[in-house]
Amino acid sequence: MAIQDYLRQRYFPHMWCPGCGHGTILNSLLRAIEELEIEKNDLVITSGIGCSARISGYVDFHSLHTMHGRALPCATGVKLSRPHLNVIVPMGDGDALAIGGNHFIHAARRNIDITAIVMNNRIYGMTGGQFSPLSGPGVNATTAPYKTIDNSFDTVKLAIAAGASFVARSTAYHAQESTDILKKAIQHKGFSVVEILSQCPTHYGRKNKEGDAASMLEFHKKNTARIGSKALEKNPDLTPRGIFVDVDTPEYCAEYEKIIAVASKEKM
């Protein structure tokens, strides 16, 4: 199938700004789905609120556009009810880790078989450029006119600490790498977290003098390096990319089936 076959044309044009990284990430995601040959009817996209969350409407899968931060618990209800479905949850950085932070760590702790994509552009784009929990200190934002003093989360470390059994990072610049990682994440049985650094030229780039979309993409390229690469060894300040964790641990829905087996036996 072609990429267009996965899109709901009637939804277009999309609402993302020119140069936004989210379209590239959508592209990487759809290619991963295409290469995995997942039936459209076997795939659920659940999202919250924000620029990233609009993905759910654009794709021709089962799509559930929920509330700000609440995509994961809604997805948990869907997944536990119908464990055979592939459930993918694209989220923004604020959506996933500020208002949805509690849901994020607990979904990871349960290791429920959901693929969470954190599309990290370090800003609240839809509301017009407020800093997010991934902005980090020293950033200009409409709610930080004197620059931010808030530290940021490290999504990867947070996900690992919370118990996610697959944790990876890539960027919108590394579209092919993102596809490869997403394929593995979707196939992984358990809670997978893929952080993909995205760019928001409109609200982050302009305010922080990072230039246009192209130069922001350049930034993704220059400031990251693959795990195990010489570049990272030489310069540990670079942001590492790749798969950090990929382990087999008991998955929530499968474990619950065992509860059902025990409970229904006890009743008999």
């Binding site: 709901r8 009637r10 939804y11 459209k40 009817n41 659920v44 659940t46 759910s56 409407g57 021709d60 899968f61 089962h62 799509s63 559930l64 556009h65 929920t66 509330m67 609440r70 994961l72 618990p73 809604c74 997805a75 948990t76 209800g77 869907v78 997944k79 536990l80 009810s81 119908r82 479905l85 509690n102 849901h103 760590i105 607990h106 619950y256 509860i259 059902i260 025990v262 409970a263 229904s264 006890e266 009743k267």
Partner: protein, 382 residues
């Protein structure tokens, strides 16, 4: 027959009702005084292949039942006080997206942490207006375990019939008290199952296109039809829209589907009401005291009756007006500052003859509390 008679808490009666109604999925978070509902379902649901999940918070619990219900599972959560406040955002989402679900709120004293282990009926208005924006809602209540059972079954039935969240407004006294429940035989009470679309695979299904009778058949999310669900105003395909016509029609639909069916939704009981000169309007555990008083005064020849409301929202205005039309006075017996009182005053012809018999100190209102006020109204002194 023997194991059909149970001596249990009201919260367990709610569980029995939910199981009878065909609950498949429960998500919750521990909170007094509703916790027993989730404790019992944690054991009972997997026995029959259902799913139970303890979520990280109240919000997540509400979200999880929304997700589960959408896939075709009869779903429920239970909470109290602060938890009910936290669930309001997602209750609004369920209203907007028309996802059937049941929220049991075993009321305790508030605001805030309030009085977790003591009785109150302070959430009546929150049940109606807790979530933001115009909408309508169904809220049921019950005063004894047999009715808790029946109203729980009804809550599931109404949720499916009107594709809407239904609030089961119980209270601490009924929830924690133990009394007899006779579990009805299978088939004794009506069970409404989900109205599913007859459209086959690969046929365009419109999740928000009403049939001629106004009902919207559902298709199990994740099944044969792919569609979009959003909390934004949306068209018949479920696609976001800010077309004024679409917004206007959807909002009216959300309100009308409930407000135009008040009669069908209304549940109530009469106790000695026929020739009553003094009418006690009550609900939930307060109604027990009202009925107690009415029966004991009847034995002394006083014409007192009780109109026990079992559906609070949509408020049965016409019913209250009709039943109270010949009353010399109406006493609304409730454990709050007059939340149902305001509705009754608005309903009757002589609002100045409507009085509040309330108690708000965490103690169950007693028959003598009501009697004291009644004597004053009857002009028989304090």
């Amino acid at each position: 027959m023997k194991n059909k008679i149970k001596f249990i808490q009201g919260n367990e009666a709610c569980v029995e009702g939910a199981l009878y109604a065909g609950i498949d999925f429960f998500a919750g978070y521990p909170i007094t005084p509703s916790t027993e509902i989730m404790e019992h379902l944690a054991r009972r649901l997997p026995e029959r292949g259902g799913k139970f999940i303890q979520m990280e918070d109240e919000i997540a619990s509400m979200c999880a039942i929304i997700g589960a219900s959408l896939t075709g599972r009869k779903s429920m959560t239970a909470t109290s006080g602060p938890g009910f406040s936290l669930k309001q955002e997602a209750i609004g989402y369920a209203c907007m997206t028309e996802i059937p679900c049941v929220i049991a709120n075993v009321q305790r004293g508030g605001p805030s942490t309030g009085n977790p282990t003591h009785v109150s009926q302070g959430d009546v208005n929150q049940a109606r207006w807790g979530t933001h924006g115009d909408h309508s809602i169904i809220a049921l209540t019950a005063s004894n375990h047999q009715d808790v059972f029946a109203m729980t079954v009804d809550a599931f039935n109404l949720a499916e019939t009107y594709r809407t969240p239904v609030i089961l407004l119980l209270d601490e006294a009924v929830g924690h008290m133990r009394e007899k429940l006779i579990v009805p035989e299978e088939g004794e009470l009506e069970i409404v199952d989900r109205l599913r679309t007859a459209l086959g695979r690969d046929v365009d299904y419109h999740p928000y296109l009403p049939r001629e009778d106004g009902r919207l058949p559902m298709s199990d999310f994740g099944g044969e039809h792919r569609f979009n669900v959003t909390g934004l105003f949306h068209d018949m395909w479920g696609f976001p829209s800010n077309n004024p016509k679409v917004i206007n029609e959807l909002l009216r639909h959300l309100v009308d589907k409930i407000e135009n069916n008040v009669q069908a939704i209304t549940r109530y009981k009469e106790h000695c009401l026929d020739d009553a000169e003094y009418i006690l309007v009550s609900y939930g555990s307060s109604a027990r005291s009202a009925i107690h008083l009415a029966k004991s005064r009847r034995n002394r020849g006083e014409k007192i009756g009780v109109l026990e409301l079992q559906s609070l929202w949509p408020f049965p205005t016409e019913l209250v007006r009709e039943k109270c039309s010949n009353a010399k006075a109406v006493l609304v017996v409730e454990m709050n500052m007059g939340q149902v009182l305001a509705q009754v005053k608005a309903a009757v012809e002589k609002p100045d003859r409507v009085f509040l018999a309330n108690r708000i100190d965490g103690k169950l209102i007693t028959p003598s509390d009501i009697k004291k006020l009644l004597r004053v109204i009857q002009g028989r002194g304090v």
